[in-house]
């Protein structure tokens, strides 16, 4: 038995109904949403009884140089399926995305870590401080331009 993965298209259709303008594009595996809309998208995915993404597996941030990409691996324990939501964050000076910590408390440390190491600021996070490095550390080490 393996977990069923919800195709990006299905997620995109549902999201377009619930949170218009949030969806950017989709492919087989994932749906891309706008980073500002991430909080409402998360709330919908969490609360919707069919999707029921109660569990946030991981938030990953990737530096593609021209933009950052946030990857949310989600799953439902009750429905036994998984899904991937992604978000492109543009700008290198002060990239921001909406925090999902009010939906999934488990995002707390992960978002702080992404801010610390990748430099993406999450709006709405109650404690947006560096977690691994000390306050005042210059730069964000996981960025490709950090040496």
């Amino acid at each position: 038995m393996t977990l069923a993965a919800i195709p990006g298209e299905t997620l995109a259709r549902r999201l377009q109904e619930a949170t218009p303008d949030a969806v950017v594009e989709w492919d087989d595996a994932a749906v891309w949403v706008r980073p500002e809309a991430m909080a409402s998208v998360a709330a919908f995915l969490h609360d919707d009884p069919d999707i029921d993404f109660a569990f946030l597996n991981a938030i990953s941030a990737i530096d593609f140089v021209e933009h950052f990409e946030l990857v949310y691996h989600l799953m439902s324990l009750a429905k036994e399926h998984t899904g991937v939501v992604r978000s492109r964050v543009y700008g290198r000076e002060e990239p921001t995305a909406a925090s999902v910590v009010n939906v999934w408390k488990g995002a707390d440390f992960q978002e702080r870590e992404i801010w610390d190491l990748m430099g993406i600021r999450f709006t709405g996070h109650p404690n947006m401080k560096r977690i691994m490095l000390w306050e005042g550390f210059d730069g964000h080490p996981l960025r490709k331009d950090f040496l």
Partner: protein
């Protein structure tokens, strides 16, 4: 003899070793000087014996603990690592003596001295063999209780003077435990005193035609538990719980001060084991040969130490509130029951002169053992409910919870 003589009724008069030294010294010295010299010499002997004993206990405990834990224990210095305490001492003496910034220097320094002193003074009344106590005080039990309570003051001073929060935690805990446990300990000793009819430790040993751990199993149990709490030993070692508060009240001590505190602790273990041997295991009285009294005494002391190490190696530690519960709701009723039962038995069994025969003691044994089993089981059953009930004191800040997942729970 140049006319000096010792009052055999005096506090030190009954001690043959003291008398010997006094008489020898009196050949060449004036009487008062001979008295002082004899006192100093015998004190020196006692102090060194106790501190040496503490060293041996520290080695023995570590060896024994090692074997309980299926490992070797200290084995580098001397045969079976027996010189380990000397190596430890040499190391500790040569270490820098640190007094932390902001500490109360005088109080901080006084603590190890008070701890060792109170231990040594208390040891003075323990009869190591027949008639070989430094003094056989007629209020021996009271004296021991009074002097050993000094430790709690020393411990609290240590915690307060160290300027360290962990030390303060430890001190607060230690004082709470020591003062609480004093009560059941005293009550259990009361039973012993009633049966023996004397507070002198020598007389208590003589009175034990049947060892008191059989006559008063409840008192023995309460005393053992109470003393392991007063010694800060598992499962009551909250005061220096190393996994929680580093080392408790002696967190900041180093060098020779630490050595003295350790000596007081291991010496305390030795002292309490000796006390248990004296009060409950019939002290120096053995199956044969009174002149072998010191051997019986040592064997019985070893039994006590072995028991402490065995318990230490096996059990986890209770929480402070649970320790208090055990004290006030478990040991207290037990010691009261013991006191009441023993008092009644003595009242009905004693002869006209107020003395108890060996047969009477056996009768008491036959009654008291079932009483002990029943009451320990009963209060153990009650305590089981009480100790588990550890409600949280403030509401926890709940993380954000958005709806409950529908996964089945169970």
């Amino acid at each position: 003899m140049n006319g000096c003589h010792l009052d055999p009724q005096g506090a030190l008069g009954g001690n043959p070793l003291f008398a010997l030294i006094f008489n020898v010294a009196a050949y060449v010295l004036p009487c008062w000087l001979a008295f002082v010299i004899a006192g100093l010499v015998i004190m020196l002997i006692l102090i060194n014996a106790v501190l040496l004993g503490a060293a041996i206990v520290s080695w023995g405990e570590r060896r024994l603990l090692g074997r309980f834990q299926n490992r070797v224990g200290p084995n580098r210095w001397g045969p079976f690592g027996a010189l380990q305490p000397i190596a430890d001492l040499a190391k500790l003496i040569t270490k820098e003596d640190i007094i932390p910034y902001g500490a109360d220097r005088l109080a901080f320094t006084a603590v190890p001295v008070i701890m060792v002193a109170s231990l040594l003074v208390a040891t003075a009344v323990i009869p190591f063999a027949k008639d070989v106590a430094l003094v056989d005080l007629n209020v021996g039990v009271l004296f021991i209780l009074a002097v050993s309570s000094l430790t709690s003051i020393a411990i609290f001073t240590a915690g307060w003077a160290s300027n360290n929060r962990y030390a303060l935690f430890g001190a607060g805990r230690a004082v709470a435990v020591l003062i609480s446990y004093e009560v059941p300990v005293v009550l259990s000793l009361l039973g012993v005193v009633i049966v023996a009819g004397s507070m002198s430790l020598g007389d208590i040993v003589v009175a034990q035609a049947v060892p008191f751990f059989l006559v008063q199993p409840l008192a023995f149990f309460v005393f053992l538990a109470g003393m392991s709490a007063e010694l800060n030993r598992t499962p009551f070692d909250v005061a220096e719980a190393e996994s929680e508060i580093i080392a408790g009240y002696h967190t900041e001590y180093s060098g020779i001060k630490f050595a003295l505190i350790q000596a007081a602790e291991f010496g305390g273990a030795l002292f309490v084991s000796g006390l248990i041997a004296t009060l409950f295991l019939a002290g120096w009285a053995g199956p044969v040969a009174d002149w072998l009294g010191w051997l019986w005494f040592l064997i019985k002391t070893f039994i006590g130490i072995f028991l402490f190490v065995w318990i230490r190696s096996t059990f986890p530690r209770l929480r402070l509130d649970q320790i208090m519960t055990v004290c006030w709701k478990f040991l207290m009723p037990l010691s009261f029951i013991n006191l009441a039962v023993v008092t009644l038995e003595v009242y009905f069994l004693r002869d006209a002169s107020g003395a108890l025969s060996t047969a009477d003691l056996w009768i008491m044994t036959a009654i008291n053992i079932p009483v002990a089993v029943v009451s320990i089981a009963f209060f153990g059953w009650i305590i089981r409910q009480k100790v588990r009930d550890s409600s949280r004191t403030t509401a926890a800040a709940s993380p954000v919870v958005r709806g409950v997942s529908t996964i089945e729970v169970g």
